[in-house]
């Protein structure tokens, strides 16, 4: 054997090019083409229309599924290949990181194109956050290097959260997964309720000031990704194939 088991694990998990190359490109290409078509129709009807789209989120939903399937289907196969659970996990993390970096770069480059073409010749906004916030909030223009970081972190978050839920499923079965999803949603609702009841917003704003907007989003995204990574690591060592 010439290479380390971690690299073997990463290569096995990336053997089928569909997973990390063709399907993400297809989803991204499809959602972008659809958005441009809709914009063109809108622009024909009303030349002054402000065009925003959140279609760039589409591939991230796919990545959530990729993360979950990595544990549900790829993990048992790596066990048949006699790879350790640790090497499986490290290989997955290596692939996720490399993919996220490349995907973030691609979306950032598309943002540069968006800027260079004057919003795809229609003054549209797709590869920058489609937001308009009041009062000194700094939302970077399309093509800003911020988006390389933000989109890479969002890809990592989607993959590792999917991965963590996949691990819960393999360890505790369908009932455990349902409980984990319900629990997470319940906790988020409870948190929201408490934040309103307890008037936490000023405190939260102090922690994450709006004028440091892209940096804050990056930190929160990274924290959620880290949580997914930690949960999956804590559970994977005792997951049966």
């Amino acid at each position: 054997m010439t290479s380390s088991p971690i690299l073997v694990s990463a290569r096995v998990q990336a053997t089928n090019r569909n997973t990390f190359v063709w399907v993400p490109l297809l989803v991204l290409g499809g959602s972008t083409a659809l958005t441009l078509a809709i914009w063109w129709v809108v622009k024909t009807a009303s030349a002054e229309a402000q065009l925003f789209s959140g279609s760039v989120q589409a591939p991230f939903w796919y990545l959530l599924v990729v993360g979950a399937q990595t544990v549900a289907l790829t993990f048992p196969f790596t066990q048949a290949l006699s790879l350790s659970r640790r090497d499986f996990w490290l290989g997955a993390m290596l692939n996720f990181s490399v993919f996220s970096l490349l995907f973030g770069t691609l979306l950032w480059l598309l943002g540069l194109v968006e800027r260079a073409t004057g919003g795809w010749w229609m003054n549209g906004r797709m590869f920058a956050f489609p937001l308009k916030l009041e009062g000194g909030v700094n939302i970077p223009e399309a093509g800003s290097p911020w988006y390389l970081l933000l989109y890479a972190l969002m890809a990592m978050m989607a993959l590792s959260v999917g991965f963590a839920f996949g691990t819960v499923y393999k360890r505790f079965g369908p009932a455990g997964l349902t409980l984990a999803i319900t629990g997470t949603v319940g906790a988020l609702i409870a948190l929201l309720y408490l934040s309103i009841q307890g008037d936490w917003w000023p405190t939260l704003q102090a922690w994450f000031p709006l004028d440091r907007f892209p940096g804050n989003v990056a930190i929160i995204t990274a924290l959620i990704a880290a949580l997914g990574i930690l949960v999956s690591w804590a559970l994977i060592r005792k997951v049966p194939a």
Binding site: P5, T15, L73, L81, S82, S84
Partner: protein
Amino acid sequence: MSTTAPALELRSLSKHYRKRGGAVAALENVSTTLEPERIYGLLGRNGAGKSTLMALATAQAFPTSGEALVFGHAAYEHRPTLAKICFVKESQKYPDDFEVRHALHSASLAFPHWDEDFARSLTQELRLPTDRRIKKLSRGQLSAVGIIIGLASRAELTFFDEPYLGLDAVARQVFYDRLLEDFAEHPRTIVLSSHLIDEVADVLEHVLLLEDGELVLDAPADEVRGGVTTLHGSTAAVLEAAGALPVLARKDLGPVTQLTVRGRFEGAALAAAEAQGIGIEPATLQQTIVFLTRAGERAEL
């Protein structure tokens, strides 16, 4: 005495599952030792615990108690030990949208002794379409994937989980021939699990029989094979020839009796019985095992 560690050593291995109304034992206190470079048959009915035993031995699952040592070391998270093992489950899961060639390429990366030429010739002989998605394979083709990975990996301890499932007669013969040829050139420890005992009987050197999670038979195949004999002839002569041997089954048809006994007829005993006009027929491995397990069930009643 040999200084090499056993290929597999099971020490009081148990696996219980929690179910409503208490725990169910999939494997109960199994202890045995598998020597290197031999072919073992792991036999038993569906649900007897064969897959559980193999999953525990390869650290794909976790025991409730006891331990399994592969060449002297537990396989769990131990790279050098894992590298000696190959176990493709009968119900193996593969990554979504994997084609046969993806699975074989992955195996070639993972197994240190992988023989690519061997894998390629097996693929041709078993007529496995390499560009077909694994999801779309027939049961027999799915078995063929496991067979190819198992054989071409040349792992020191290789498990074949129900390798004959869905295979046609030609493919069964290919597996049988290639297994024995390759075993002669590259001796290793092979465990064949099967609920169809006669399918694998000819290859086996040693038999492990599981019944409801318990190891009820652990003996060389030759000792088991022919350990049960059926006598056929006139009642008086048959009974006399059988002597004090334990009777497993008796069928009377007028003056003729068919008696199945535990014991073998060889040499003088065989000649004497045949001189009396008694038909002597050693039971096949499968018949032997069926008789022995039924006898066990009766003894428990």
